[in-house]
Symmetry: C2
C-alpha cells in the first residue's frame, strides 16, 4: 500500500512555513508582516521570526514603509532580485549558451560557446568551462545553484542524461559531475521540459493548470504541465513525440527507424524537403523567407509538416484532454499557413467536444527560454518558488 | 498568480488528522492506538480523541487485544467492513448494473436492469429505480453515498454527463439529480476512468505511480492514473482515445467522422469486419470462439484491430512515458495473437528507449470493475480512503 503520510515534525513545519512566508513576499513584492500573517494564517510572532531568518540570509529585505492604516506605518518587505543568482545552461543547440539569472528571471550576464562538433567528455569539459566563466563574471551575490536544459532523455531525479544523440552522451551522470565540481545544487532537465516551465512562468495569467508546450526546431519535443507542475513520466521521457511513427512516412530518421514525426515536421526535415523542390531553400531562414514570400514549394512542405504535427497534437489532446497547447521554436516563424495547418488537422482528429475548447497558440518564447526554464526549475527545487518577474 | 496555500485552520487540521487515523486503521487492519500514534506522529492523547470519534460514528471498532509488550495488552482497532456501504452503478452496458458494496469492496447485493433501448429521462428513471432497489435491499448499515460509472464525457467535479450518445444524454446534471433525490453524496465518472481506479485498487502491489488502463469492448476508452490519482483533464475527457482518427481508415464512426480507432479496433467493429468474411461470426462470443479455434478471418481482423490499438497506445506512451499499461474488456478474451499484435505495434511505434520498460498486460478486471471503481472513487471522496480488501 502507499505509505501513510506523516504528521509534519516541528522542523518540517518550520521549513514549510519558511517557504510559505518567502513565497508570500516573492509573489506580492512588496508586503508587510501583518499582511503576510493574514495571507498565510500564521501568527504575527511566527511571521516575525521567519522573516528575521530571511533577512539574515539575504532572501528578504526591508524596502521602506507602507501607508499607515491608523497606527505606525508598516515596514514593507521584498525579495531582492539579486539576493541569489542562478546559473542557467542550454545545451540543446549547435552552441552551448549560458547565463547568470537573478531571482526574477532577469539575465545579468550571458555567454555562448560553439560546440564545434565536439561531444562526449569534451562536451562535458565545455559545460565546466561555461560554468567557470559565468561564476567568475558574477560578482558577489551567492549562487543558488545550476539549472541545465539538455537534449535527450534525462532523469531529472538523478540528473542522468540517458541518451543525447547529438552530444554522444549515454547514461551520463551530468548532474552529479557538475554538482561535485562546483559544490552547488544542480537540476538537469530535457530542454523541451525546461522551455515548458518557462512558458508557464512567463505566459499570460491566470496560468492554466494543464499546458502542453511543443517545440519545433531541429527536432520536435513537448513539455507537459499537469496540475501546475512539470510531468516527466516514469522515465522522464514524457513529451517525446518527435519519434512517434506515422503511417505513410518513408524517410529514415536519425533514430534508425522510418516515418518518425521528425522526418516530416521538424525544421530540418522541412528544409530538406523544400530544397528538393527549390534549390534556393538552403536553411531554416531561407525556408521562413520563402514561406513568407508565398513560395509554393515552401508552402506545400510547411503545410504537410504542420498537418502531421497537428495529428501528433491531436493524439496528445485525446490522451489528456488538455485545452491549452503552445507552439514554440523556429517553426513558429513559418507564419499563418503553417499554424492553420496544425490547428486544422489537430481539431479534425479528435472528438469535436474535446476540440471545441482547444486553444493552439504561439508561445511567448522569451529569449533563452530553455536556460530560463532550467533556472526556474532549480529555484522551485531549492526555494519552493515559482519564478516570476 | 496561483493562490497561496494557507496554514491549516484548527478544524481543517482535525479533519485531516481524523482521515490520517482512519486511513492508518483501514490500511493496517488491525492496529493499536500506540501504533497509530507511532505511524502518524500524532500524540497519544490526540489519537485517543480521534479514535473516540471514529468509534462513536461506527467507522472503527475494537476487535480484541494484541500481544502485550510488557504492560497491559493493547486494544486492537479495525474499520468494520460493514460500518458503511456504498451504492455502485455501471451504466455503460446494454443493461444497467448496480451493487451494494462494503468498505472493503465486497459486493453484498447486486442487481441488473435491462435498458430495453430506453434513453433520456426514461434512462434516468431506471437509475432511480435501481438505487431504490439497492437501498431497500441493504439492511441497516448507513449509506456513505452513490458512485456512478457512466459512458461518455463526464465532468466529475459537477457530476454532469456532457455527452453519452447511447443514452441520449447531453449536459445532464446526473450527480445533482441523484443526490437531490436520495439526499446522499454522489460521484459520477466515466466508466473507463472508474475501471482504471478499480484496477489500481485491486491490482498487484506495489501500485505503480502512473498507470494507463485501456478498455476495449463496444467502444474504446482509457483511464489514466498519474502520481497515484485519476487524471481527468480539463474537460474530464482524458483517455478518450476511441475517436482519434488514423490514416487509412474508411469506416464511418457513430460520432459522424471517418476512420476513428473504434471503427477498426473495438469489439463491435471487429465482429462486423469478421462477419463480412465469415457469416458465422455473429457476435463478440462467436468472434472469441473463432479466434481461439484458429479461424483465419477472425485472426486477420483481430490482429489488424490489435495493431491499430497498439498504435494508439504508442501515442499514449510517447506522450506520457508511462511504463504500465493494462488492457481490460471483452477484447482481452481474443487471446495471445491479439495481445501480441497490440504489443508489437505499440513498442515498434515509440523510441526503443521508452519502449524497453513498457509493460502491456491484461488487467485483473474484477467482476463489476466499473461499479467497484465508482464506489472506490466515492469512498476516496468522502473518507479519504483508497478502497482495498
Amino acid at each position: 500500500m502507499a505509505s501513510l503520510p506523516q504528521k509534519a515534525t516541528h522542523q518540517q513545519t518550520r521549513a514549510f512555513n519558511q517557504q510559505l512566508v518567502l513565497r508570500a513576499i516573492y509573489d506580492h513584492s512588496v508586503i508587510s508582516r501583518a499582511e503576510i500573517a493574514r495571507l498565510t494564517g500564521l501568527t504575527r510572532t511566527s511571521v516575525s521570526e521567519l522573516v528575521g531568518d530571511l533577512l539574515r540570509t539575504g532572501l528578504a529585505e526591508e524596502v521602506g514603509r507602507g501607508p499607515s492604516t491608523g497606527g505606525k506605518a508598516p515596514i514593507l518587505l521584498d525579495v531582492p532580485a539579486r539576493g541569489r543568482h542562478i546559473v542557467g545552461l542550454d545545451l540543446g543547440e549547435s552552441a552551448f549558451s549560458g547565463a547568470v539569472v537573478d531571482l526574477r528571471g532577469t539575465i545579468m550576464h550571458s555567454m555562448s560557446l560553439p560546440l564545434d562538433e565536439c561531444d562526449g567528455d569534451a562536451a562535458v569539459d565545455l559545460v565546466f568551462t561555461m560554468v567557470d566563466g559565468l561564476l567568475a563574471s558574477n560578482g558577489s551575490s551567492p549562487t543558488l545553484g545550476i539549472g541545465i536544459g539538455a537534449p535527450g532523455l534525462i532523469d531529472t531525479r538523478t540528473g542522468t542524461v540517458h541518451w543525447a544523440v547529438n552530444l554522444n552522451w549515454a547514461d551520463l551522470p551530468l548532474g552529479e559531475l557538475v554538482s561535485r565540481r562546483f559544490g552547488l545544487p544542480v537540476v538537469v532537465a530535457n530542454d523541451s521540459h525546461a522551455a515548458a516551465v518557462a512558458e508557464l512562468t512567463f505566459g499570460p495569467r491566470p496560468r492554466p493548470a494543464n499546458l502542453v508546450v511543443v517545440r519545433v526546431g531541429r527536432g520536435i519535443g513537448a513539455g507537459i504541465i499537469l496540475n501546475g507542475r512539470l510531468f516527466q513520466g516514469d522515465g522522464s521521457g514524457a513529451g517525446e513525440i518527435g519519434h512517434t511513427v506515422f503511417d505513410g512516412g518513408s524517410e529514415e530518421c536519425h533514430c534508425g527507424r522510418v516515418g518518425c514525426l521528425e522526418t516530416v515536421a521538424s525544421m530540418t526535415a522541412m528544409v530538406e524537403a523544400a530544397r528538393r523542390l527549390d534549390a534556393s531553400i538552403i536553411d531554416e531562414q531561407a525556408l521562413i523567407t520563402a514561406m513568407r514570400g508565398g513560395n509554393t514549394a515552401a508552402r506545400d512542405v510547411a503545410v504537410r509538416g504542420g498537418e502531421q504535427l497537428g495529428r501528433a497534437i491531436a493524439a496528445l489532446i485525446s490522451a489528456l484532454n488538455i485545452d491549452h497547447v503552445l507552439l514554440i521554436g523556429p517553426a513558429t516563424e513559418l507564419g499563418d499557413d503553417w499554424l492553420a495547418a496544425v490547428r486544422r488537422r489537430a481539431t479534425a482528429s479528435v472528438l469535436p467536444l474535446l476540440a471545441r475548447n482547444t486553444h493552439i497558440e504561439i508561445g511567448a518564447e522569451p529569449e533563452n527560454v530553455v536556460l530560463i526554464g532550467a533556472a526556474a526549475l532549480l529555484m522551485t527545487h531549492e526555494l519552493g518558488l515559482s519564478l516570476a518577474r
